[in-house]
Subunit: 198 residues, 2 copies
Amino acid sequence: MAIIVDKVQKRKDIALSCKGLFFQNGIKDLTISEVAKTAGIGKGTIYEYFKNKEDIVFEIVNILLLEHDIRKNERIENLNSTKEKIKEFFTFFYNEEDAELRELYKEFISISLTTPNEEMIEFQSQCSKNYFNWFENIIQEGIDRGELALSSKNLARGVFVFGEGIFISSVGTNTIVDVKEEIDKFVDTLFEFIEVKR
Amino acid sequence: MAIIVDKVQKRKDIALSCKGLFFQNGIKDLTISEVAKTAGIGKGTIYEYFKNKEDIVFEIVNILLLEHDIRKNERIENLNSTKEKIKEFFTFFYNEEDAELRELYKEFISISLTTPNEEMIEFQSQCSKNYFNWFENIIQEGIDRGELALSSKNLARGVFVFGEGIFISSVGTNTIVDVKEEIDKFVDTLFEFIEVKR
DNA sequence: TTAAAATTGACCGGTAGTCAGTCATTTAAA
DNA sequence: TTTAAATGACTGACTACCGGTCAATTTTAA
């Protein structure tokens, strides 16, 4: 027998070691050779841990998104009002500190649109489900506390999906100048309608 | 002097001649040689009319989207209620007859996320602006007719962007089974709130 | 020592994009 | 009317390069 390396861990290590490279250049202008050199391993070894170039981005986003979720969870728990929680949820789309993940997430979306892969779809679906549940719970909580109207729950998916939409729009066009402002306007107005007047 | 061809028209002709190829195979699994063969011209000629493979998709979507807009405009004009108009607006995201354009639009979004190009951003921004104005007008009309509450107008961007979001979600995950149902639920519920009770 | 596991980079097939040359048509001089 | 010059359109062989493979080599535990 020989040493059995922790394949899962090494995959993560390699992915993270070239995170900056992907962030700066984007997947298009990156060669596997460069990635291998940066990771300090041979080109062939890359393929021992990844199916292809896209798979590396997948791993990076996977790791970063998980870390991001933990931070986000903590932040949201410390907030009181439903509106604040929902707004906090959307900060990902404009926060300076999430810029790197946002850039890589963008690449990931692009990949998953053209090279759909069973695992990626599964991952994205899982993320989507989690976020949506999270989101739905926040709204449900608001309803239970008598803050929101009952049928607000039916808006959960829509409001959740609104985030993805504003992201795609802000990245692909120059029509949305201030993402935060746009989000605030939407959420504030929506709350004018769904908040229960006492 | 020699022959002078209508470069703009020829660009369109070439693009449309290989529309089916892009629809069936997707940009990843297509070579310029195949495209040239399908178009019945030499490989070098492709580069006389297009910057690269992506530019061909851009042209196809450009043409198809314009045609689509005209049809959509007609349909919306024939509708009466604001709610129906808005729902009609979103049919693009699930309609069987728009399946082809939707597929190509998906490729286009993917391209514009990773290879941003001045022209593409301009095109997308223009589209986005047009659709948004259209959308805003529909809502404004509803307000003027006393159907909708005044501040509904502030929701325009959000509801508009919701469409993009549901598209990305439905394409990239398996969480949205029935796009039409999801859209209807969101719009119906939203209207419960923003419609003026008489 | 040994054998399995891990690593490697030379190599291969294939593709995007280039470019030197050809072709077809128009213009204008004779 | 003829023909030579001019030029835009077109072409496909060619190049540079890249993703991915694999036979050979190194590493490591037993």
